[in-house]
């Protein structure tokens, strides 16, 4: 009996330490919020002046930041890039994972394809960057469209690895039964295999979305001539042009962080599971 009681007891000292430790996570966010709402005149040089609550919770800074950074358009671009990359990745990478997983055992071609694609994981963007800038400009895709294609290619190694690993646990017998009934490989895939992979689709979507949404380097080098911004890229432009008005800057940072924070609050469980699945497999 005593065993049981001990097991149910909470370790309060660790709990309290962890709650105190949350300051390290929350302090930068708190600071962002209060500065974003303040007026420059409220920002005295002392710490208390910086960190005290604003006199009024006016949205003027946000309105101004939205105007200066062309917020809605940047948000739309970020959203478009992330959503389209996610959808294409789930479709193409799962198909490739399927082709590889089902043929690797008997075909040298697919075994080669698998290692060829997966080894792409070690190619740093820095080496592809300069040739890709030339290439996308020549193909006239130095824009949102080009960035999407590049993301689909960059995330292929990881996603094909994940999908083919997952498919090894789905028995081939399922497809064979459908084949006997006369269904084509293509139909079988979409009717039977694709729906079975939902857990992996979720993982791939989360990992791809987190990576593309927050990425700066690819849009920076590819889209810089197109006059288009993504949300993080707009912060970079903003910083170089209006870097000294911190209240405006922090309002803009907060706006840039907000979509992801909202997404996280809504889909926390899926995001955490997705990240764990992706990393552990």
């Amino acid at each position: 009996m005593e065993e049981l009681k001990v097991r149910e007891k909470y370790n309060w000292s660790v709990t309290i330490l962890l709650i105190i430790g949350l300051i390290t996570v929350l302090f930068p966010l708190y600071m962002t919020v209060v500065i974003a709402f303040k007026q420059p005149s409220e920002m005295t040089n002392s710490i208390s002046g910086i960190l005290s609550l604003p006199k009024s919770w006016s949205l003027n800074n946000f309105r101004e930041a939205m105007r200066v950074t062309d917020f809605w358009r940047s948000l739309f671009n970020s959203f478009l890039i992330t959503a389209v990359t996610m959808i294409i990745s789930v479709i193409l990478h799962s198909l490739m994972g399927y082709a590889v997983a089902r043929n690797m055992g008997k075909s040298k071609f697919y075994r080669f394809s698998y290692y060829y694609i997966v080894s792409g994981m070690f190619v740093p963007f820095a080496i592809l960057m300069m040739p890709l800038v030339k290439q996308t400009a020549q193909l006239k895709i130095d824009n949102v469209f080009g960035v999407i294609i590049l993301y689909v290619v960059f995330y292929m190694p990881m996603n094909v690895l994940l999908y083919s690993g997952y498919l090894k646990n789905i028995p081939v017998a399922l497809e064979e039964a459908a084949h006997v009934d006369g269904a084509s490989t293509w139909t079988t895939y979409w009717k039977i295999i694709f729906p079975l992979m939902w857990p992996m689709h979720a993982t791939v979507s989360v990992l791809t979305a987190l990576g593309t949404w927050n990425d700066v380097m690819t849009p920076l080098v590819i889209m810089s001539g197109s006059g288009m911004n993504t949300l993080p890229l707009a912060q970079l432009t903003f910083q170089t042009q209006f870097g000294t008005n911190y209240n405006l800057a922090f309002a803009s940072y907060l706006l840039a962080l907000l979509p992801m924070i909202i997404f996280y609050l809504v889909a926390q469980k899926q995001i955490i599971n997705g990240v764990i699945n992706g990393a552990v497999k």
């Binding site: 097991r7 370790n11 309060w12 660790v14 709990t15 330490l17 962890l18 430790g21 949350l22 996570v25 930068p28 966010l29 600071m31 962002t32 710490i47 910086i50 193409l92 198909l95 490739m96 082709a99 394809s113 060829y116 792409g120 070690f122 190619v123 963007f125 820095a126 080496i127 592809l128 960057m129 300069m130 040739p131 290439q135 292929m156 084509s184 490989t185 293509w186 987190l210 949404w213 927050n214 700066v216 380097m217 949300l231 993080p232 912060q235 970079l236 910083q239 800057a249 922090f250 940072y253 840039a256 962080l257 992801m260 924070i261 997404f263 996280y264 926390q268 955490i272 990240v275 552990v280």
Partner: protein, 283 residues
């Protein structure tokens, strides 16, 4: 037989276009980068072949040398720091605490935020908040300390991710292993050293390899915090390739740098995996 052919044809129709896409936007630029590395291309205009000269120059260029020194210093210190702190965090978050899922959820937040914006926020902390507390000049303006600021920002974000991976590792350790160990009198540090850690060794390997690779490629934090300064003391390899290759007219030279960087990344990852896999087998 007919259905066998149909199956084979479908698979080829799927994989060949995808392989071509991958070749076109990954392998082809890689090859082009390799070719450019043997030229004096400035990014525009005409260029000539210069053979191995770019590579020879790389090894005598102090700016390139400094960027490698900085990047490795940052990556090694950050990787060790991140993994130690993540392990401690994971042990704490996996113990019998109250509000477990809430705390886990909160500590993961840094990982979902964009590195560039996080960098800007920390830049403000380092420039205005910290100096006001310590009554010293900003770390970011000191060429001996600026790299530490970057380590802190990298760690703040990466710890969230690595902690999560360690937690999922700790959950694979069955409860009765601990009970058996407790009966044998193992406590605290010994329990961790001889029982928990060996069992989560595969997760340690993943974390070390991924973390090292990410830190070697550090870019956003540099853009946000220091822009390579002060006195070029925080130029990471990626930053230097971007900065001098794209705008500085060193397209060819930085291509050679990128080729070496590629080889370095592959070598480090392979060595790490070899070394850590060997440790895993021994345990």
């Amino acid at each position: 037989m007919k259905s066998q052919n149909e199956r084979r044809r479908t698979f080829l129709l799927i994989s060949i276009p995808i392989l071509l896409l991958f070749f076109g936007f990954n392998t082809l630029p890689l090859i082009k980068g390799f070719i450019y590395s043997f030229t004096n291309f400035r990014g525009y205009g005409s260029y000539e072949w210069v053979g191995w000269r770019n590579y020879a120059d790389l090894f005598t260029d102090t700016r390139v040398g400094n960027s490698y020194w900085f990047t490795f210093k940052l990556a090694i210190v950050a990787t060790i720091l991140i993994n130690i702190l993540s392990l401690i965090m994971a042990l704490a978050l996996n113990s019998k605490i109250r509000f477990k899922s809430f705390l886990r959820g909160m500590y993961f937040i840094p990982n979902i935020l964009g590195a560039l914006v996080v960098g800007y926020i920390f830049s403000y902390i380092f420039t205005y908040i910290l100096p006001a507390i310590t009554r010293t000049a900003s770390m970011l303006a000191d060429k001996n300390l600026a790299w530490i600021a970057i380590v802190i920002v990298c760690a703040w974000q990466s710890i969230a991710m690595n902690t999560l991976i360690y937690i999922s590792g700790l959950q694979t350790v069955p409860e009765d292993v601990y009970e058996a160990a407790s009966l044998d009198g193992a406590t605290g540090w010994n329990k961790f050293r001889y029982i928990t850690f060996p069992l989560i060794m595969p997760f340690f390997t993943i974390n070390m390899v991924l973390c090292m690779k990410n830190n070697l490629m550090v870019f956003d934090q540099i853009m946000a915090l220091t822009n390579g300064g002060p006195a070029q003391s925080t130029e990471s390899i990626s930053f230097l390739i971007y900065n001098n290759g794209m705008a500085g007219g060193q397209f060819g030279f930085q291509s050679a740098n990128a080729v070496i960087f590629f080889i370095v990344i592959v070598t480090v990852s392979v060595l790490q995996m070899r070394f850590l896999n060997k440790r895993e087998e021994q345990l």
